[in-house]
Amino acid sequence: MTAPTAAATTRRLTIAKAMSEAIGLSMNADSKVIVLGEDIGALGGVFGTTQGLLERFGAERVRDTPISETAFIGAAVGLAAAGMRPIVELMFVDFFGVCMDAIYNLAAKQSYFSGGHVRCPMVLMTSVGGGYGDAGQHSQCLYATFAHLPGLKVVMPSNAYDAKGLLLSAIADANPVVFMFHKALQGMGWLGTVPGSIVHVPQEMYEIPIGKAATVRLGSDITLVGLGLTVHLALQAAATLSSEGIEAEVIDLRSISPLDRETIAVSVAKTRRLIVVDDDYRSFGVSAEVIAGACEEGVDWLAAPARITHPDVPIPFSPALEHPLLPSVAKIVKASRVLCAGKVA
């Protein structure tokens, strides 16, 4: 289940390429799969999610839309009800405010309101994350905003292998899946990319099950839970910590909803220390759910669980302001040392 290390050579793809490949394979396999969104045609997606698809499948199945998220996401719900498998892109998750009703009141509830007689097999792809100076309306994560609402599945890959497998699972799913991709991992040259996100990706179709986290590093002293970008930060921190005699177990959530509570529970039962690293806003977020979920299980903590997140302030533009607010390797190392102090002593 976990991604092969970057060592595995042959087909090292970016998440953008892996996503385009997954969509292309699905469109080949199933004529009911179509793509809708802004700039997903000739441009191939602002974040490269639909590269080459217009050329291969034509404008009937790869449709640039007007700047009308409410209408085209609503249309995706109607397409899905009619048996199509629309993949729709919301360019930035920050734009959810203009179209959330179609997502959470229509797509998310179509199965329930119909008693399962009308399905909603659609994928909503959307970019998340900051760190590159795009300011407060183009850098948000909003993981919890989507995960809090029933009827939606929410996933986010930390590398190209998972991206392809999770997207193929999402397209095959009979339900609406919000597929978030992190801009810092996307592999668009113009955005810079964390190298660890570019890994070997098999040519063929394969699925990564939705709802299953990946334990990407084994450790016995502390559990570091991350998602998307923060998984890479946690892994780097774990390397440093290891040289200090602290072995961190690192969990990549991959699915935000449903949350893989069991994988987390098993790990914290072993380490009895937990830090959640989340670049979304701090309060009422993923970090709180992971900690609360673990505490409900009655863990006998060696240290109080902690979270490293973006604070509860809008995301500022200036790098001098934004960078210090983001989770970092240094912050994870520092916090881990504090939680493990007992051990060293």
Binding site: E60, P66, A71, G78, S111, Y112, F113, G115, G116, H117
Partner: protein, 327 residues
């Protein structure tokens, strides 16, 4: 061309059935809510938006539709559901929150889904319009000549989804018909007070599509306007916007005191009740009293049977609340 005799009888049958249904729902809804009205009580809790007076919009349009045509409707949808052919027993059981309801009691009166006739409705104003455009595009992509119809109230014509959906439908040349039931009121706010134009059908020009206005809640005129629009859509001619002048004979929802409504307005509309008007018209073209009465009688029986079916149906088991969140 005007509707054939049998089509007119069919429309009259649907209209009467729909009206009898609302009258029966009204009675059942008020059970347990008197003397003290409490929306939470009685066999049908929650909000209840009746369609009495708006039947011509539903039958005039749906008379042209097939089961494979899609209809998306609103919070005020009983007349449309009936005209589209939604199973009356299952629909009634759903409104009563019973196990035999369309969705086993999960949706209720604002969320009636019947996949067998491609009908659904949503309680958020204008939000059914995008899905209708999508259903229309699906038909086009699948090579079918099926169409989609989105019914909304005139109040919905000021919601962003209206604008986006009409533009998208026009750009896609999607086989969709947007039908505005103009009953002059959005709860307590009049169309005049909320809408910058007198006729929303004029807004069709903003999307380069035909905009048709039908006055006077006229069943045959609606049938004719809808027929042209549906034929155009099936033939690949793209979307149409139709605004129909209709009347709301009840409050916005049950329990609405309607203090905002000019006195005499409802009485004046009742005097022009579209069912009475249409019954007279049918009599004028020679439909016998006996034939009319047998139609009415069949409608009354179907409604009575549906109410009885719903009452007899069990409540769903609590555990089923956790089912079908995902398919």
């Amino acid at each position: 061309m005007p509707a054939e005799r049998d089509v007119r009888l069919h429309m009259y049958a649907q209209m009467t059935r729909s009206r009898y249904f609302e009258e029966a729902i009204k009675v059942a809804y008020l059970e347990g809510k008197q003397p003290l009205f409490n929306m939470a009580k009685g066999p049908i809790p929650g909000e209840m938006h009746l369609s009495s007076g708006q039947e011509p919009c539903a039958v005039g349009v749906c008379a042209h539709l097939r089961a494979d045509d899609t209809v998306t409707a609103t919070h005020r949808a009983h007349h449309i559901a009936i005209a589209k052919g939604v199973a009356l027993n299952a629909m009634t059981a759903e409104i009563f929150g019973k196990r035999d309801g369309l969705s086993g009691g999960r949706g209720g009166h604002m969320h009636l889904f019947d996949a067998t006739v491609n009908f659904c409705c949503s309680g958020i104003v204008a939000q059914g319009m995008g899905p209708a455009v999508g259903a229309a595009l699906a038909a086009k992509l699948m090579g079918s000549d099926a169409v989609a119809v989105s019914f909304v109230g005139e109040g919905a014509a000021n919601q962003g989804a209206f604008h986006e959906s009409l533009n998208l439908a026009a750009v896609w040349r999607a086989p969709v018909i947007f039908v505005i039931e103009d009953n002059a009121w959005g709860i307590s706010v009049s169309k005049r007070a909320s809408t910058a134009v007198a006729r929303n059908s004029d807004r069709a020009a903003a999307y380069g599509m035909p905009g048709i206005f039908v006055a006077d809640n006229d069943t045959d005129a609606i049938y004719q306007a809808a027929g042209e629009a549906v034929r155009r859509a099936r033939a690949g001619g793209g979307p149409t916007l139709i605004e129909i002048e209709t009347w709301r004979l009840e409050g916005h929802f049950m329990g609405d005191a309607e203090g905002y409504r000019p006195s005499g307005e409802v009485a004046a509309l009742q005097a022009r009740d579209p069912l009475l008007v249409y019954r007279r018209r049918l009599a004028d073209i020679g439909v016998s009293a006996a034939e009319l009465e047998s139609i009415e009688c069949r409608g009354r029986r179907a409604v009575a049977d549906a109410i009885e079916f719903a009452r007899k149906s069990d409540y769903p088991g609590a555990e089923s609340a956790f089912q079908t969140v995902f398919s």
